[in-house]
Amino acid sequence: MKQERLQVLSLLPVVVIAFGLPLVLRSPTYLHIIILLYFYAYLTTSWNLVGGFAGVLPLGHAAFVGIGAYTSTVLSLQYGISPWLGMIIGGVLATIVGIIIGLPTFKMRGAYFALATIAFAEGFRVIVENIDYLGPFNLNGPRGLEISPLNVGLTNLMFNSKEPYYYIILVMLGGVLALTYLISRSKLGYYLQAGGEEPEAAMSLGVNVARCKLIAMAMSSFLTALAGTFYAQFTLYIHPKSVISLDLSFEIAFIALIGGRGSIAGPILGALLLRPVSDLSRIYFGSTLPGLHLVIFGIVLILVMIYQPRGLQEPLTRAYHKLLERLAVRPAVGV
């Protein structure tokens, strides 16, 4: 059997399990945890479009989460606009911001871009934390915004049980993964990776490196903002420290880096490995050893960067491909 066929087949059980899980796992607590896991996997995969493929280091992505969350929430609370529409508007806003940040900085050293993202994210958080009104919009400062679960239904992205949220984020995650896969095989994907690795050579081959990075940035910021809306509708309460925090930005980046940026499996793998660490250490050590999971993240990150700079996915992906090769070669097995 051909290797590609095998690869597709190997994904089938994963898809089946993913879609069937809520039927088996009834506990809302566990579903909640898994939903957040998917949420982070979505965020890191979106981050990967610009942090992995384009080879730059965005360290302020939480700002886009915040833009998405606040835009849809304010629009729905004050003007009754459907969160789905708010989601799209938030995405567009985030895209504009992402392009504004990227436009001057993509032509410069990578450090400038990283700094600009941090500065913008923190500036944004400081502003939202300290003002109540931005023009006609009520942001409610550090107290944040609460959404009351009154209008239940798909059009309002509001549900009484966890299952619908589960499927929505699962579909979003699947979508973003599919997008990443398509891009990696497209001209944009090739150009991004080339421009990230050897910008001078890429430019001489017709690659407008800065423009490609901008496109990736625009996509990434848009997609990240969508997740912000989801989060708002899921947790029903947003405040600056939860959606625009530097911790969140860093966690997203760290997970993607540890898992392996620039690959498709890396961010998900990172999320699968690290989120449980984060959750467990918060549950068991939250009061005695606060911030323990961040220390662990930091240490793991440094070790990975020294010994496996392409992320933990590398040895695993290699083993996976070797296995596929072995299975594909033997015609006696399977079809």
């Binding site: 090739y190 430019m203 001489s204 017709g206 490196v209």
Partner: protein
């Protein structure tokens, strides 16, 4: 209309004048060699033409159009390609991947880009290494990959920057053969080289640069016999083979 025209090109870096009023031209289908001692300004001139540096003063025309401040990617789209003196392969990617990046300059679709890339690899005898990571290639193969990549963009004018440096004599001969073959395929070539027997064998005309200034121009024989060139660069014992 000349393929490439450089008029009174000057490039200053602070107080240092790297290129000093350089004027030259290439006809279509020509092979022009550029020689001179190290630090004479050859690569700088290339970089000005290729859009990496902005000329301080002077004009550069490509296919009749002024290209002074054009960016490298636009020049590539117009048909100007170049290789780098210190090769810059996409080291973590395969040979095929490297060339496909070049092929995408002429097409939007990956299958077509791959097909074109494979053709080029076949032409340069690199196809059996198509899945090798670029960082694992020998220096000779890396140089060929560099040319393959640039060729994939289907250029009209190709700037080759010391593609023979570090090659063994047999590899140099092979490279000379490839260059002559490229010209037969319709590519105009502008070559910087230090290996005398190669560049003298392959060029239609040669330009000699010293301290950023052109000190001689003509056929390889004329240039080799020029006294100033001998004093500055070639040495007394040199004779064109």
């Amino acid at each position: 209309m000349k393929m490439l025209e450089v008029r009174d090109l000057v490039k200053d870096f602070g107080g240092l004048r790297a290129v000093d009023n350089l004027t030259l031209a290439l006809d279509e289908g020509e092979i022009l060699g550029l020689i001179g001692p190290n630090g004479a300004g050859k690569s700088t001139a290339f970089n000005c033409i290729a859009g990496v540096y902005q000329p301080t003063t002077g004009e550069i025309y490509f296919k009749g159009e002024k290209i002074n401040n054009e960016r490298p990617w636009n020049l590539c789209k117009s048909g100007l390609a170049r290789t780098f003196q210190i090769v810059k392969p996409f080291a973590s990617k395969t040979v095929l991947y490297n060339v496909v990046v070049g092929s995408f300059a002429t097409t939007e679709k990956k299958p077509e880009a791959e097909r074109k890339a494979l053709d080029i690899l076949h032409y340069l005898h690199l196809e059996d290494k198509k899945d090798v990571l670029a960082r694992n290639l020998t220096i000779a193969d890396r140089k060929r990959l560099e040319i393959a990549r640039a060729l994939a963009t289907e250029p009209k004018l190709l700037l080759l920057d010391e593609v023979m440096a570090g090659l063994r004599p047999t590899e140099v001969d092979e490279m000379v053969r490839i260059i002559k073959d490229l010209r037969d395929k319709g590519v105009t070539l502008f070559i910087i080289e230090h290996i005398m027997r190669a560049i003298m064998a392959v060029s239609d005309r040669v330009v000699v640069i010293h301290f950023g200034q052109k000190i001689a121009e003509g056929t390889p024989q004329t240039v080799a016999a020029d006294e100033r060139v001998i004093k500055a660069y070639l040495g007394e014992e040199y004779g064109v083979s």
